[in-house]
Symmetry: C2
Subunit: 685 residues, 2 copies
């Protein structure tokens, strides 16, 4: 990968002297490149002063990287020639591949085959190209080249890169590397992420993402990268998947954006909800890594209050000052000032008063960052103020128009962001806390601390599949039991005598439920009797049978489930669905209205760690209910976490289990019991 980003010799296959052509723009963009550039085009011997050859095979020295802009159908041949010439990497800018329909997809497969045969690393196709500012390589057809900086930017949209490069130029934001991912035929975001983690010239990684193909690879890589460098993602296509989701009961919750959100969270990737946030977060993370307590310093009460409100909203803690700090401030600030946080040095404050206050606040060990808010009063010299901020741990809100331009440049040169809107400033600052939580997480490669009988479960599942079961109810309970999951005591009876034996061994009252692969909604056909006692047992048993036979005469009745009637406890729902990108996703929520009405659920991608299992429980709003309200005893959270871990393990071990619904699970002060269960079996997706 190193050679892709740091080539010494670059060839542009499809270079052109013709103004406006992509092959021309790229040649122009490479004029500042620190290495050697060759043009490849059979029609010319020289383009824009660069030597031109009819084929990459004819170039007299070794080529490290080829930029390919010839028509799609010529690309495989070009890559083959690259391979024969020993070129290590090729950026295929040409479009007309997978994105263009069936023919294009075929061509793309051919292209990948050729590249793999010769060991050529492929970027794209259908991309804008790539940039490495460190060696002044702008191998894109963007009209604007970015300045040097320490942000790496991966984007699934080439046009978005064009926009960002123009915008960044205007706003003095620089980049280390920029990669247009294109169709990701060979190298994807995860591969680049892995490389960028080790890239010394990159401090923050931004990704514009529409989707990943291999979600689990992305998570694995992101998890290790994010701890070293912040990874901020802007995810597009959230709503579409939201719409997709409006299907079945739990399905309406487990939309695929939920999978992305869970994946980002679990792998420590920070999600930005807008383009503005993407870059605001980047600017903050470039300069600061540690979250901490904020001191607000202002020459104007109103904006100070606005900032304090925003701190409350975005969870940014306000610092409590040392007495010493307040004493020092009182020494020279007017009596009407506010000496506590936010510190208001009043409208008649000069730059001197500001910088003295700033100095004092910076020296307080309880203060990590100072948010300096200044309005353009007659007494305030923004330039002097900006100079005094340089070198401090500060974020600025110099609120003004043209008078801020020059001060902003000064601030920018030392990496201090400036915002007009205090709310936006605080929102940006809030990313530091998110990242510090990510980087603080120790990488504990916990083995799932649960012992299970995997093979036993495998056998049961196979039998169920053989007997044609796809939607499986009580017959599937042994699978849960093999994984050490507690199920309310039960047995499956083939006749009333067996049923009575079971009931007597587990104790009355019991629940009776028909067991049939053909009956999905058992209650609807009278196939369920709750709270059955000793006296009405026989009556209930036969009622069930006659109900089901009466209403669904063709249903195969395999028996009757006799289950202990579970009293008390709190209802939980635990579910699992398979996401096409990320694999099994575990859901947790409190039963009834919490899931159905309030959508109060949490998601994680399996495997989950013990910590994540606990997080899942704590994350739902109803957690306070589990913890116990008004002196009530708390529910057994450890047991729930253990249950989640086992469900996670089961999902990973048995890809034939497509979905599971443990609904309800009753949790008690001690332990829990699965009361009802449903799973869908089938071919792995």
């Amino acid at each position: 990968m190193e050679r892709l980003f740091y080539p010494k010799v670059v060839a542009v296959i499809g270079a052109s002297p013709q103004e406006g052509k992509v092959g021309n723009t790229i040649m122009k963009n490479l004029r500042n490149f620190s290495g050697t550039v060759y043009a490849v085009n059979p029609k010319y011997s020289e383009i824009l002063g660069f030597p031109c050859y009819p084929s990459v095979l004819k170039i007299p020295e070794n080529v490290d990287l080829a930029i390919i802009v010839v028509p799609a159908k010529l690309v495989p041949k070009a890559v083959e020639e690259c391979g024969r010439r020993g070129v290590e990497g090729a950026v295929v800018i040409s479009a007309g591949f997978k994105e263009a329909g069936i023919e294009g997809a075929k061509l793309e497969r051919e292209l990948v085959e050729v590249a793999e045969r010769y060991g050529v690393k492929l970027v794209g196709p259908n991309c804008l190209g790539m940039i490495n500012t460190e060696i002044a390589m702008n191998a894109t057809f963007s009209r604007v080249a970015p300045e040097k900086g320490r942000i790496a930017f991966l984007s699934q949209s080439g046009a978005f890169i064009l926009a960002v490069l123009e915008w960044s130029k205007r706003n003095g934001v620089g980049f280390s590397k920029v990669v247009s991912l294109g169709n990701k035929a060979m190298i994807d975001e995860s591969d680049f992420l892995e490389y960028l983690a080790k890239d010394d010239s990159t401090d923050v990684i931004l990704i514009y993402m529409e989707g990943v193909e291999d979600g689990r690879k992305f998570m694995r890589v992101a998890k290790s990268v994010a701890r070293r460098k912040p990874v901020v993602v802007m995810k597009a296509g959230k709503s579409q998947s939201g719409a997709k989701a409006a299907s079945s009961h739990t399905g309406s919750l487990a939309g695929s954006y939920e999978a992305y959100r869970a994946a980002f969270r679990q792998s420590g990737v920070i999600e930005a909800s807008s383009v503005e946030e993407l870059f605001d977060f980047a600017l903050l993370l470039l300069k600061y890594r540690k979250a901490g307590n904020l001191a607000i310093l202002t020459n104007s009460g109103g904006p100070g209050v606005i900032a304090a409100d925003a701190c409350d909203q975005f969870g940014v803690p306000l610092a409590n000052f040392n007495f010493e700090t307040i004493r020092k401030l009182k020494e020279f600030l007017p009596a009407e000032s506010n000496f506590y946080n936010p510190v208001d040095i009043l409208g008649d404050a000069s730059a001197e008063r500001f910088s003295r206050s700033l100095q004092i606040l910076s020296e307080d060990e309880n203060v990590d960052i100072v948010l300096a808010i200044l309005t353009p009063t007659a007494q305030m010299d923004f330039l002097k103020a900006a100079e005094s901020v340089v070198g401090k741990n500060a974020v600025c809100c110099f609120m003004g128009g043209e008078s801020v331009d020059e001060p902003e440049r000064i601030l920018r040169s030392s990496g201090i962001p400036n915002f007009f809107d205090p709310v936006r400033a605080v929102r940006a600052i809030s990313v530091l806390r998110r990242y510090s939580e990510i980087s603080a997480k120790e990488r504990v490669e916990e083995d799932l601390d649960v012992s299970v009988e995997r093979e036993k479960a495998e056998e049961i599942i196979e039998k169920l599949l053989e007997s044609g079961g796809r939607v499986v109810g009580a017959e599937g309970l042994p699978v849960l039991e093999a994984y050490g999951i507690e199920v309310a005591p039960y047995g499956i009876a083939r006749n009333v005598d067996e049923a009575r034996d079971i009931a007597e061994s587990i104790g009355y009252p019991v629940v009776l439920k028909v067991v049939s692969p053909d009956v999905v909604h058992k209650s609807d056909v009278g196939g369920v009797k709750l709270n059955v006692g000793e006296n009405d047992f026989e009556k209930a048993f036969f009622e069930i049978l006659s109900n089901v036979e009466g209403r669904m005469p063709k249903a195969r009745i395999e028996g009757v489930l006799v289950q202990k009637m579970v009293d008390g406890g709190k209802e939980l729902i635990v579910g699992m669905k398979r996401d096409p990108q990320f694999g099994p996703m575990i859901m947790f929520g409190m039963g009834g209205v919490y899931v159905e009405v309030l959508k109060d659920v949490s998601f994680r991608i399996a495997p989950i760690t013990k910590r994540e299992a606990h997080e899942m429980v704590r994350e739902v709003k109803a957690y306070r209910i589990l913890r116990g309200l008004r002196g009530e005893k708390p529910a057994d959270i450890d047991a729930i976490a253990d249950l989640l871990l086992r469900v996670s393990k089961l999902s990973l071990d048995h890809p034939e289990v497509l979905e599971m619904d443990l609904n309800p699970v009753k949790v008690f002060e001690s332990g829990y019991a699965v009361v009802d269960f449903r799973m869908v079996l089938g071919e792995e997706v």
Copy 2:
């Protein structure tokens, strides 16, 4: 008020020739004023070319408006002279009044007294001044004067105005009127709002607000203004009040920012959550009033998807095109284009392709606004594209840097906003829906359609107060009954025989509850027995008495409440608290965890209309539960609304009722019953 904004002759009392002084800056700022300016200062006969007099009394012609910048203690005399000279309005810029402590407050009272005596309308004191761009009057000490525009801006922070004026200059945003409210000793935001509603040069009103003194006046005025012109408020000081709130049970919910939010909502004021939003909303509302369906038109898939996501997030509906539209688009767009919403005209689109597509989308009657997103591709000419947008109902995201400057000016000249971030653009557009709902609301001055026995309630409350009750329980139920509020059948008994008589007349089982002004937490001292049947009645009755006597020997026991045990139904909580600014605030929520854990409550300021009562019920997330889950019968929503209306009326009629808690109220398929009640009586706040 007209004379304040449109004076012909202005005098600056405290004018100064000395550079840097406020009295100098104001004179400079008035140089462009279309009327006549006089300086007042005993030391000079001329300042900056303006004639100067030792007193306003000496000015040879009638003065309409005085700008006062002399030291605080001289202001009352200056205003007195204004009064004697017949000056109609005075803007007091000088500080040193209420904001400066007790002495200042005294001076401010004196000032108001003088002004009232002479009928001088007072702006400020302690303010930045005021601006009317229509007559080029900049009577502030801002260094920057705004351009003409159709936004009026009221601000409680002078410094915030300074910042906004600088920023607006840079961003080409103009203002009609700008007023720095200062201490609002005489004229407050409501007065200005009332005036601006009728001001022909103002289309949108923005307010930066820290707090209002007379909340009910603000609501009354805002309600009538907002229907004619959008009023957008940025409220500061939200979190402080949030912190205040962390007190008692319902108290922790009914913080005073909740009162502001309810007031804004009820009066049709739009709240902006950041400075950015404040002006984004204003720009949209200046150009468009009707909400509607959005068409997204883009030359780049990614940003189009981002915008579609944002539409989902902010509730902006995407238009469904006519077949005709799609047919026309297909006529000339490349086959790979997306012809549905978002319309993607591909990366190689020219300005011509863009403008043709825009034209077609604009002609579709299902499209109200087109969001035009363009990235800076080589083929796209932003200038031409901008020209084709002019005159269309569009909002733009021309995503770029310097190349957008000139196009942006073209767009701006026809009022079309341009944003870099599609998310921000859609968020801004979402304000149109909010405003269209406000302006569509018919002004129905419904009389509360509830008949009540006001005097009877008055008598009961008086008696309760006479007997020393402050926190009142069951003894207060007759007050609810006088207001036609349904209470679970009950009686208060002084001995066991009476108790049994009551129980027999209402039917067993019953609830027994001690009645004592001294026992607040009745359950805690064993003063409550639930579900008491005929057989255990006597035992339960005496147990209560002995429990309370045993644990609180000094408590005055006034009797025992015998109440019908209410089975089934859903639990509601209805509450009332008095807000110091806005008066009685009504709270509604579903009982138990919904209020306590999930804070799922709605608030309105009394009086509420029938529509608002229904809104309160629909607004809580638990509404779906009231409506009935899974075929369950819905709760009697009309009855709940009726209950809320009666509580609202009770609160307004009886200011001695400081707080009420109807908790729980049980609601059924038909009707409801108040089960427990508590109110706090006292002097009106």
